[in-house]
């Protein structure tokens, strides 16, 4: 059937169409996704938390905070001006907040001051409730007798008890960024830093945007010299991950290509088989990219990294066929050889695709992409091999060359049965011991290896400017906005206790700036009763410092006429710009806000805040890193079950064809996997989801070796053995290079593949000899 001339051309047409689709995808901006979390996100979707998270995430991911300076104020301002000019001209940013117009510096006062008799600090409220007149009067007198007023405070007569001054001071404590000389300044001892707040134009996970932003920041850093230039933002991390993955794709891709080229030249002494072996890879990659982009829209960068490893696998079918052709074969002979190999090749494809497709079973969107990418790529490579190679192949193995001769010698190498048995027993004992030492680690940080200097810079900016954690926060949800604010206020009481214990630095919440109407009215009433009543504390203060009666009356009237601050007014005002993102508004049936946390102290801090959240109904603790580590663990366990299931399925398929011999086909791979786990135990490398994934692929690849060897048990001219060896070497080359990856997850994956495939290959030979 495959001999018909029509099929190869039909397949070529299909591939050409797919290539067109792949090319269109590659030309689309944002075609490559580098958001690490999008690999994992799907399972938590469709609930309040994830909707709120994605809204918060989009907003947060687009912001970059830059601090320039490190010396005195004048030099910091000079350097920041230079950076600002560069950034402004870069067109990488949608918005840059830098110079403050003087009115904005006074914003805090002009916006909030009219509502000041509705705004109290917890200490003030406590003093008023406890009827502690002395505390408030002392505070007022200190103000009246101090040589100068506190910086940024209202005139004494507008705030005689300095209640508003203290409220302002408490609000300011959440961040260290202060308006000074028309700039936003952070002071750290003697060092001044000028802040620039940037909002990038486009998504932080868009490759082109990342590169534009990266270049703009680098230029701005150059311009700021010799001053320090610190920047912090999700885009910095995304860029680092992206650049690293890109470097690794080229390294692994180029390395594996080079290795394959050299191997094939050494085995065939001809360029033609090389081109023929590459043909299925090319068709495979094109088809995989086209189908994946059609199904998923965007392809994750990890899928591409993984796909580059696929190169090493899809070359196997072509190689296996080419090892069986001979110089002088005519077309009919080549098709005859193909017919003989077809059951083995098909079974190899079926088992590999089966193994790769099990990746799609867990609800990881990223894994589903990889599963589809691999399965489609392999299928296309197989089709190309079967449909085109018999037409195009000429010649055969260069049997006199060193590589085939060495491999052949290796096949006929006879070891003493005793030596083999002793070695095997030692290896198994050592592995068993290694297996007892196996540990697991599901930390999500394994997925990405961020450069330490980037992390240090981010931490420095967070310490200086008081940046809230993007990974851990609280969601407050209730039926109405007022109810949300009231819930936040109940939560604040709990959080203040955690703060007092030192486990939490600070928290940011909308209700700190706009208390609930209930709270504002209560506070206003408290002031009416205690301060502004006839003969109240204001009258008493008046008698102490000589406040005129007319002023007292005016002050009373102003208090009575004042209006509370409303949430809507706050949301509409420029004064809320820095904190507005905390108010998520309507999400589904509910109103939701975020309480952001700063300076959370490790695991103890997380547990304390989580416990505090549990005591207040309507508050949800969100820990993205923790959640994802949890997910990775769940998936590791699920994948281990999937892998076990895949073995059973594959074994059943083999049993159907090979009967009792099926055990011999499976044994090398099973043993290789167990020994690999043992080695990891020896090396104290913890097992994670990626180890399990690699073992699943070892199954897919290793079983093929068993199948090819079993199909040709006599193998008189060693064609099967040489084919398997070349396959194993190409696979080792591509996956072995993954072990060089800087990303811990890929590194573990590569190492497991290296050990697993190497052992499968060796054992496929070794066990046969023993038998």
């Amino acid at each position: 059937m495959t001999e018909h001339r029509l099929f190869p051309w039909l397949w070529l047409l299909v591939t050409a169409l797919l290539a067109l689709a792949a090319w269109r995808w590659a030309a689309t901006p944002g075609a490559i996704d580098s958001d690490i979390l999008s690999l994992l996100e799907e399972r938590t979707n469709a609930n309040l938390v994830s909707q709120a998270q994605s809204r918060l995430g989009e907003n947060a991911a687009r912001r970059v905070l830059v601090l320039v300076g490190g010396g005195d104020l004048a030099s910091a301002v000079r350097a920041a001006d230079a950076s600002y000019a560069t950034l402004k001209n870069s067109a990488a940013f949608a918005r840059i907040e830098y110079q403050l117009d003087p009115a904005r510096a006074q914003e805090l006062q002009t916006f909030y001051a009219p509502h000041r008799t509705f705004l109290l600090t917890p200490a003030q409220r406590a003093a008023l409730q406890a009827d502690d007149r002395a505390a408030l009067i002392d505070q007022a007198l200190r103000g009246f007798y101090s040589p100068v007023g506190a910086p940024g405070a209202l005139a004494l007569m507008d705030d005689p008890f300095q209640l508003f001054a203290a409220w302002q001071q408490e609000r300011g404590a959440a961040t260290r960024v202060r308006p000074l000389q028309d700039r936003l300044v952070v002071l750290d001892g003697e060092r001044h830093y000028v802040a620039l707040l940037l909002e990038i134009a486009g998504s932080a996970f868009d490759q082109q945007v990342q590169q534009r932003v990266g270049a703009a920041l680098a230029a701005a850093k150059q311009a700021a010299q010799p001053a320090d230039f610190l920047s912090a933002g999700v885009v910095n991390f995304a860029l680092a991950v992206q650049q690293q993955a890109q470097r690794e794709i080229s390294l692994i891709g180029a390395g594996s290509m080079l290795g394959i080229v050299l191997l094939i030249l050494a085995a065939f002494h001809s360029w033609r088989p090389l081109l023929l072996a590459l043909l299925p890879i090319g068709f495979g990659c094109v088809a995989a990219i086209a189908v994946c982009s059609w199904v998923f829209g965007r392809i994750h960068i990890f899928t591409l990294v993984f796909g580059s490893s696929l190169v090493g696998v899809s070359v196997d079918y072509g190689l296996h066929f080419l090892c069986h052709t001979r110089a002088g074969d005519d077309r009919a002979q080549r098709f005859a050889r193909l017919r003989r190999l077809l059951p083995g090749l098909t079974l190899a494809l079926a088992t590999s695709v089966l193994a790769y497709l099990t990746l799609a079973l867990p609800a990881f969107p990223g894994l589903r992409q990889m599963a589809l990418f691999s399965a489609v790529g392999l299928l296309a490579a197989w089709l190309t091999t079967v449909l085109w190679l018999p037409w195009l192949a000429r010649g055969g193995l260069a049997r006199q060359a060193w590589l085939p001769r060495t491999l052949q010698a290796l096949q006929h190498l006879r070891l003493q049965g005793r030596v083999v048995r002793t070695l095997a027993v030692l290896l198994l004992l050592a592995s068993a011991w290694g297996l007892t030492r196996t540990s697991v680690n599901d930390d999500v940080r394994l997925l990405q290896n961020l450069p330490p200097q980037l992390l240090a810079e981010q931490q420095r900016v967070a310490d200086l400017a008081g940046v809230a954690s993007p990974a851990q926060f609280l969601l407050v949800h209730a039926a109405t906005p007022e109810a949300v604010l009231q819930t936040e206020e109940r939560l604040a009481v709990e959080l203040d206790t955690v703060r007092a214990s030192g486990l939490l630095g600070a928290y940011q919440a909308v209700s700190l700036w706009v208390p609930s109407q209930q709270r504002q009215r209560q506070d206003h009433h408290l002031l009416t009763q205690k301060l502004y009543a006839e003969g109240g504390w204001l009258d008493y203060l008046g008698s102490q410092v000589g406040l005129p009666a007319a002023w007292l009356d005016t002050s009373r009237a102003a208090h009575a006429a004042a209006q509370p601050l409303t949430l809507q007014a706050w949301l509409d005002a420029p004064a809320s710009s820095a904190l507005r993102h905390l108010w998520l508004g309507r999400v589904g049936e509910e109103t939701v806000s975020v309480v952001a946390l700063q300076g959370l102290k490790g695991q103890a801090g997380s547990s304390a805040v989580r416990a505090a959240a549990q005591r207040v109904p309507g508050v949800t603790w969100v820990d993205r890193a923790g959640d994802f580590s949890q997910l990775l663990q769940t998936y590791r366990i699920e994948m281990a079950q999937v892998a076990a299931g895949a073995y059973v399925l594959v074994f059943a398929a083999l049993l159907w064809r090979y009967r009792r011999a099926a055990l011999r086909v499976v044994a090398p791979t099973v043993l290789a996997s167990l020994i690999t786990l043992g080695c990891l135990g020896w090396l104290s490398i913890p097992v994670n989801l990626f180890t399990v994934l690699a073992l699943l692929l070892v199954l897919g690849v290793g079983i093929d070796y068993g199948i090819y060897m079993e199909e040709e048990r006599s193998d008189p001219d060693s064609a099967a053995w040489i084919g398997v060896s070349l396959s194993a070497m190409t696979t080792l080359l591509s996956f072995g290079l993954l072990a060089l990856s800087q990303t811990p997850a890929l590194q573990t994956f590569g190492l497991t593949m290296l050990l697993g495939v190497g052992l499968s290959w060796g054992l496929a030979r070794g066990l046969r000899r023993c038998a």
């Binding site: 100068v148 000074l180 406040l547």
Partner: protein
């Protein structure tokens, strides 16, 4: 004659005349390591019927800070150090602001240090000043040159001889504080307890 005088002034230039005066004043006051004495403060708040009077003593230690101790009408200690502003009453901290994290506090602290110590070199970094010497005595008027300080002060006037004897602060919000110093001692040795005050 009048024309000649005008010509003289024009040739010498008024600013240089003032600058010469500042030079003279700087020399007279010097840069003492410490200054201590008593003060009498009169704070004029526009809306109040009468100025608020307070008395006490103070100590300025160069590069360390200021201790401003009010005795009447009620005891209170105000400490300005490089690190913070602290108000204490009956030995308890009532109010504290960090000068290491609050640029505005830092700026005000530096001005007050310099004012009480008569450190004109430091003051002239943030104020434009003009001085006048009349025999033993001198007078200086200063206007803030930065926005940050302009939000707090409109003008500061100083008077003195070998030490600063009178300071008048015109705050931006219209309040005015007049401080007179008496019994000034320059470069006296700080006791161990006094040194500890600045820690």
């Amino acid at each position: 004659m009048r024309f000649l005088l005008l010509l003289c002034v024009a040739l010498c230039g008024a600013p240089s005349w003032a600058a010469d005066a500042m030079q003279e004043i700087r020399q007279r006051v010097g840069t003492p390591e410490s200054v201590r004495g008593q003060f009498e403060q009169k704070k004029h708040i526009a809306a109040l019927e009468r100025p608020l009077l307070s008395k006490g003593d103070f100590l300025v230690a160069r590069n360390r800070g200021v201790v401003w101790r009010t005795m009447t009408p009620f005891p209170q200690v105000l400490k300005l150090t490089r690190r913070d502003i602290i108000q204490e009453q009956n030995g308890k901290v009532r109010f504290q602001l960090s000068a290491e994290r609050e640029p505005a506090v830092r700026a005000v602290n530096q001005v007050l240090f310099a004012l009480f110590a008569g450190d004109f070199a430091a003051l002239e970094q943030s104020f434009t000043s003009s001085g006048k010497v009349e025999g033993e005595r001198w007078r200086v008027t200063m206007q803030p040159s930065s926005n940050a300080l302009a939000q707090l002060f409109k003008e500061i006037r100083l008077e003195g001889a070998n030490t600063v004897q009178r300071v008048e602060l015109f705050e931006a919000n219209g309040d005015r504080t007049e401080i007179r110093f008496k019994g000034m001692q320059v470069n006296s040795v700080l006791s161990a307890e006094e040194v500890k005050l600045f820690d």
